[in-house]
């Protein structure tokens, strides 16, 4: 029959060094205190990475402070913009290499890095490059000012894209940065350091320190940073909020989510199924705004679930480098263990779990796309963020009940509404406590659109004019 032959992207498009130091003051330091970073699809070690210490962090912050005082704050907006445009173009030029690097280190399908992660990263730099000489119009009055040195920690789910969300607005606003990528996915950030060199960005404007949670803690604890930006789990976000309380450090925290994807009986059902699949299985469900709670109107539950299961049978799990792969590897063993534990808990509490039959590769970390039906709002899988390809299905009878159930969460990052009725979309969007509400679509991102959450999903906005404001202050 029509079984797609393997169509692997070339591994040779990227060459990693054997080991990497930190990127401080425009140069790579000598690798020290190293650990191996792996390809989660094969468990093969890709490179040795330096585990940053307090000393490394201090050197990076000093380099950033120095660059801020002596160079970056002295440049006019148009010149800063010029560098950002240059970076954006280099990302585009090296997009295939970056896509392969991201797929190898993260485990997500090449289809996604090629069509989403890398193009979005470039678009963020293009967008904020345009802002660099127009800060007077950001809404803070004339001559708004940068904070100074921004300390940024990004997660492993969209390594380069999250880096772009952090670095592009920071630099456009005139800050210099020290960024720490996640311990499991440092490679695209280190390639980005090379791009900064290639773009001849002044030394010290961007500094990359690699390492684990303790390295991030040292960074946010440093007395000479002015701004903290973190994307990651709510638990760590709370620790950071406590850590910086009582200091002058400004903060944006983009944390967890447990989004409701609400399907009404009058929805375009086939497209709703696509939206559900895209909402929860995109990037193996490692998405803070994933539509992980499906709320379906009782009257269409059976037909919708039947269609969803049929659609899930077509999901192709396997080698992330294959251009036809839809679901790649789970990023780490720890994450796989967590997903497995939560699904088992969901079944123990009365949910019925279902997954299509798919062959699992022998090495690496894998989890089949799974739905759990018969979930009640009180169940663990309806409340806790699973951060994996697992959908919890609940029902509702009326729009009011849908709103009540959707809002019944400690989180409030995003939501989806599926209905052919325009007025209902507006009313739902008004009532849902979520930073983003998608209507008849899901997981759409654009640099011009602000993104961020309510409640324990964090504070501050990224993207758009609002995202710029997180890196500026009024001049009076």
């Amino acid at each position: 029959m029509f079984d797609y032959a393997p169509a692997p992207e070339s591994r040779d498009l990227v060459k990693f060094q054997d080991s990497y130091g930190h990127f401080i003051g425009g140069k790579f330091t000598k690798p020290s205190n190293t650990y191996g970073t792996i390809n989660p699809a094969t468990e093969e070690t890709l490179a040795q990475i330096s585990h940053g210490t307090a000393k490394d962090v201090d050197a990076a912050v000093k380099a950033a402070r120095n660059a801020y005082e002596k160079t970056w704050s002295k440049l006019d907006g148009a010149t800063r913009g010029k560098y950002l445009y240059r970076i954006a173009r280099i990302i585009q030029e090296r997009s295939r290499e970056l896509a392969v690097a991201e797929t190898l280190n993260n485990g997500k399908p090449i289809k996604e890095t090629r069509d989403a992660d890398i193009p979005l990263a470039a678009s963020w730099f293009f967008y904020y490059a345009g802002w660099a000489d127009k800060l007077d119009y950001a809404g803070l009055g004339p001559n708004p000012m940068a904070h100074g040195v921004a300390a940024q920690v990004v997660p492993w789910n969209f390594p380069l894209m999250m880096l772009a969300w952090k670095i592009a607005p920071a630099l456009a606003a005139g800050n210099t940065v020290v960024l720490k990528p996640a311990e499991t996915t440092p490679l695209s950030a280190l390639l980005f350091a090379e791009i900064c060199q290639q773009a001849e960005l002044p030394d010290g404007v961007v500094n990359i320190v690699t390492g684990f949670g303790d390295t991030g803690a040292e960074l946010f604890d440093h007395s000479d940073i002015n701004k903290v930006a973190f994307t990651g789990s709510t638990n760590v976000g709370k620790i950071i909020a406590k850590q910086i309380a009582g200091t002058n450090k400004k903060a944006t925290l983009e944390l967890g989510g447990k989004a409701a994807n609400i399907v009404f009986e009058d929805a375009a059902l086939d497209q709703a199924v696509e939206g559900i699949v895209n909402g929860i299985f995109f990037n193996q469900g490692h998405v803070c705004c994933a539509g992980s709670r499906l709320l379906v109107q009782e009257s269409v539950q059976d037909v919708l679930i039947k269609k969803l299961k049929a659609r899930m049978e077509n999901i192709r799990l396997g080698d992330p480098m294959d251009k036809n792969t839809d679901i790649g590897a789970i990023n780490s063993k720890a994450q796989l263990t967590k997903i497995d534990r939560l699904v088992k808990q969901g079944v123990k509490e009365g949910g019925q779990s279902w997954a299509p039959t798919c062959a699992m590769p022998k090495n690496g970390f894998w989890y089949a796309p799974t739905i759990i039906t018969g979930v009640a709002p009180t169940n663990t899988v309806a409340r806790e963020e699973i951060f994996g390809p697992v959908l919890s299905v609940m029902t509702f009878r009326t729009p009011a009940e849908a709103v009540a159930k959707a809002n019944n969460s400690q989180y409030g990052l995003s939501a989806g509404v599926w209905t052919e009725k325009g007025s209902r979309i507006l009313k739902m969007a008004d009532q849902l406590n979520a930073g983003v509400v998608w209507a008849n679509t899901y997981n759409q991102f654009d640099p011009a659109s602000p993104f961020g959450g309510f409640k324990e999903s964090g504070y501050g906005r990224e993207g758009g004019r609002h995202g710029l404001l997180s890196y500026l202050k009024g001049s009076h």
Binding site: K323, N324, N440
Partner: protein, 321 residues
């Protein structure tokens, strides 16, 4: 094949009111979502063995078509010979499913094809506009069936459909299906052309698909090839979704035929991907999926030559038809 019981499906006696209620209760189609899904499937990478399989299947699914006012016996004969031996340089090349011609050319096609297992399909019912009385349409169909047509490609009355007269559309299809019956108990397979370019909206296309299936279509077909918008991938995906849903509820399997505007092997492979991932493997057979095309064959042949010989030969190495 189980018989259709239209009353059971609609849930009442067939009247314009009941048809209208039934068709308007179908879920809507979201244009952006449908087109996004198609765009995503179009990035599937079809290489080596799967490409070879797909190219051969595309030929086997082809209704090689000539529908010109200038068609002659010789022109039809030439096309039939092309169908019998698509690639004289590679006799392992499969044959297309059918030759598709106007009704008066059926006899010539039959003669030229002889004992070859290639069907003859005839367009009928005042093709392409469908603007004639039912009597004329039935006479047109009977004529083609009598001349030996194995398949009838009829057009629906778009005017009646767009004015909300679903019953009229339904009755015409039922009547045409009746005259497809032969004395020996067999019947010419009925393909119902929706002329999707004139129905314009995806909601209309879904409703017309259901109406045709209810009336007994063996195939639903997108277009005549004679209007500005013919087959597209999103329309084909929508119709494939309709036949799949129909099969899931009635156990009756109906075929889909996109026609018009499919010119390249690359396009054909995209259609096959959409068939596989929308309706499923059950539809990956000429029995349930066809391409209505004229220039597609040569492009597929050139790609096939490239795959077998490693060289791209060019237009001089495939025959004009």
């Amino acid at each position: 094949m189980p018989a259709i019981e239209p009353e059971a499906i609609v849930g009442s006696r067939i009247t314009n009111q009941s048809l209208s209620r039934w068709l308007h209760s179908l879920p809507g189609v979201d244009k952006v979502g449908l087109e996004a899904r198609v765009a995503s499937l179009s990035t599937r990478s079809i290489k080596t063995t799967s490409k070879a399989w797909g190219l051969d299947m595309a030929i086997k699914m082809m209704d090689l078509t000539t529908l010109e006012g200038a068609d002659t016996k010789e022109r039809v004969r030439s096309l039939c010979l092309k169908a019998i031996t698509p690639d004289p340089m590679d006799l392992s090349t499969p044959q297309p499913a059918a030759i598709c011609v106007y009704g008066d050319m059926v006899v010539h096609a039959k003669e030229a094809l002889g004992k070859n297992k290639i069907y003859v399909a005839a367009v009928a019912t005042a093709f392409p506009s469908g603007r004639a009385s039912l009597q004329v349409k039935l006479a047109d169909t009977k004529d083609a069936v009598k001349a030996g047509a194995d398949e009838i490609d009829m057009v629906i009355d778009r005017g009646a459909f767009l004015s909300g007269n679903y019953l009229e559309v339904y009755k015409q299809i039922v009547a045409v299906k009746e005259v497809c019956q032969r004395k020996d108990g067999n019947h010419a397979h009925l393909k119902v052309i929706l002329e999707t370019g004139e129905l314009e909206t995806y909601d209309n296309i879904r409703r017309a698909s259901y109406l045709a299936m209810l009336a007994g279509a063996d195939f639903i077909k997108t277009s005549t090839g004679k209007v500005s918008v013919n087959a597209t991938l999103p329309i084909t995906m929508l119709m494939l979704q309709a036949v799949k849903d129909w099969y899931d509820t009635t156990k009756i399997q109906i075929g889909v035929k996109p026609a018009g505007g499919i010119r390249t092997a690359k396009d054909a492979l995209k259609y096959l991907v959409v068939v596989k991932e929308t309706a499923g493997d059950k539809w990956l057979t000429p029995k349930y999926f066809r391409f209505g095309a004229s220039s597609l064959l040569n492009d597929v042949l050139m790609q096939r030559q490239k795959l077998t010989t490693g060289n791209y030969s060019g237009r001089d190495y495939v025959s004009v038809d």
